[in-house]
């Protein structure tokens, strides 16, 4: 174990995987000379030379080239700079990357990893703050992972790179500097497996990414009031570990799902509706679904504060169903 940041954990995963397999390369805007806009690629070119590539500002080309090179035997990792920019190359993601393996009858796999830094930090406003993971959970043919801590960041990135399916890896910008214990060397986290962050008996809170930390704060506050929270980190949302959630709700009979993204049409809705279909009898109270208001992310501090989901939002939502 060593205590490193989320960003360092992703770098360690890249270094280990690129050392292991020469067909892996990484490309994106500002990643080689600059080291990534959040420093998450620092030093990588020293070890791997032109397997770390600065691209033009051409997101469409980045994903298209990643897919094409994968068809020709490479294992690319493509950085999106900001998750918000993924809209620029949506066709390459959902019509090309996601479909090639299926539509061509399994002739070729598409081992591409798309890294997408998402989430609210520093009043970055409407086009540099979004959480868009739910869009991709709606696309058959790709996997979506979304770690909340340094250990999972490393383990999921390594698994994503080794996966023969295309994987989108959402990494919250607010998590990059967060420290945690990370296993050294071979550490793989299975895609599609949730993690029980803490066990409890009174209510289940399901979350992922940065929102896990808000949920943990809410759980602490509830614990101080004698409410025992079982906190589940999904870690992957496609595929997602519905068995883990059903099992927990069977025990606690209460469910709150919390996400940073806009509530309407978000992934929390998928979790909640699945529990309604398959676990309604477990529930002793209505479910609580926590997400941001249906608005673009505003710039000014009071507006951004009004938009954000916080520990208090989650705390209040849980209180309502106790």
């Amino acid at each position: 174990m060593k205590n490193i940041t989320f960003s360092q954990a992703t770098l360690e995963a890249m270094e280990e995987e690129m050392s292991r397999d020469a067909s892996i390369y990484v490309m994106g805007e500002d990643i080689a000379r600059q080291g990534g806009i959040f420093g998450q690629f620092k030093g990588l070119p020293d070890k791997f030379g032109d397997r770390v590539k600065d691209t033009p500002i051409s997101e469409t080309a980045i994903i298209g080239v990643a897919v094409g090179s994968a068809l020709a035997g490479m294992r690319p990792v493509a950085d999106m700079h900001f998750a918000d920019f993924v809209g620029v190359c949506m066709d390459e993601i959902f019509n090309q990357m996601a479909k090639v393996h299926y539509m061509f009858g399994g002739q070729k796999t598409v081992p591409v990893v798309v890294r997408a830094p998402d989430g609210i930090i520093n009043q970055a406003a409407a086009q540099h703050s979004q959480c868009v993971e739910a869009w991709f959970a709606h696309i058959p043919g790709i996997k979506v992972v979304i770690p909340s801590n340094p250990a999972d960041a490393k383990g999921l990135l390594k698994s994503a790179i080794r996966d023969d399916n295309p994987v989108i890896y959402f990494e919250h910008k607010g998590l990059f500097s967060m420290k945690g214990d990370v296993p050294e060397g071979e550490h793989l986290v299975e895609i599609g497996k949730a993690r029980v962050d803490r066990e409890g008996t009174d209510v289940t809170i399901v979350s992922w990414s940065m929102m896990m930390h808000h949920a943990a704060k809410a759980a602490d506050k509830l614990a101080a009031e004698g409410v025992s929270v079982e906190l589940i980190d999904l870690r992957s949302i496609s595929p997602w570990d519905k068995e883990a959630v059903l099992k927990s709700v069977a025990k606690t009979s209460r469910l709150c799902v919390a996400q940073e993204a806009v509530k309407q049409g978000g992934f929390a809705a998928e979790v909640v509706s699945t529990i309604a279909e398959e676990g309604l009898d477990y529930l002793d109270a209505p479910v609580a679904r926590v997400g941001a208001p249906f608005s673009p992310i505003p710039f000014a501090r009071p507006l951004e504060q009004a938009y954000r989901v916080t520990a208090d939002t989650i705390y209040n939502a849980v209180k309502n169903i106790l």
Partner: protein, 335 residues
Amino acid sequence: MEAPNIVKMSAEVPIEKYGKERIAFFYETMLKIRKFERTVEEKFLGGEIPGFVHLYIGEEAVATGVMSNLTAKDYIESTHRGHGHTIAKGADLNRMMAEIYGKKTGYCQGKGGSMHIADFSIGMLGANGVVGGGYNLAAGAALAQKMQGKKDISVVFFGDGASNRGTFHEAANLASVWKLPLLFVCEMNEYASTTPYRTATSVADIARRAYGYDMPAVIVDGNDVFSVYEGAKKLVDHIREGNGPAFLECKTYRVKGHFVGDPEKYRTREEVQKNIDERDPIMLFERKATQAGVYKQDEMDALQSKVDAVIASALKFAQESPEPAASELFTDLYV
């Protein structure tokens, strides 16, 4: 204003110099495409083939002339009008026809259909249902070839309509900056779906756009297989020498509607007929070949019969093949 990067080329050499084998490839490939598609058209109109079908009839010389410069290790990215490229690259006609019929024995086990045929074993990386969707995939394949230290190249086919996609710009710029072994082949067939190209395209010669990416370009008569071959050869040689991407514009004409069943209200029958009468690539080939004496009429007749038999057998294979079972819905979704 002339763009200095463009060379207009046509084959003027006596065609005997191509050698029997290449000439036979030209003729047989064009015949295969034509007869394959005539069969597909007939069976589509008869209700046997479902979905959408886009025919390449009249443009056979482009795929044939370009592919004659490639090996199975070179990659191509094709379009929604992809049967011609696929056949010219050497695909198995049985599996192609079966795929178009939605059968289990098709290239994609019935998951793709006419617009989504691929054969990775011969470097055919796939047709693409999204116009302009292939450029960047081809650039990626070319990047892989370069990173793997290979001498092979990638080729992307696209029409005048696709030349207006932003994807072209990103791929052309990247390929130029990274000196990727990539040939852009523009099939200027006059119509983007139903829109005449000059009402939607800023330049008379799309090859002029290559100048903006520091790429050499050649314009050829896309209905003359010899000219296409020569133009492609010049650029393919340039690319194989490690000089980065190049652009070939083939002036052709889409004899058929955008899709089978297109009422074609955007042009006159006379315009279409004139192109068929004066510019049909197979007719042009036969005229040159007989004039030069490289083919006698009975040899051509024999080849026609041979191709007819191959197509008939592909049709029978497709018709008699089983459909995929409903239980295969999720097969090959994930690895």
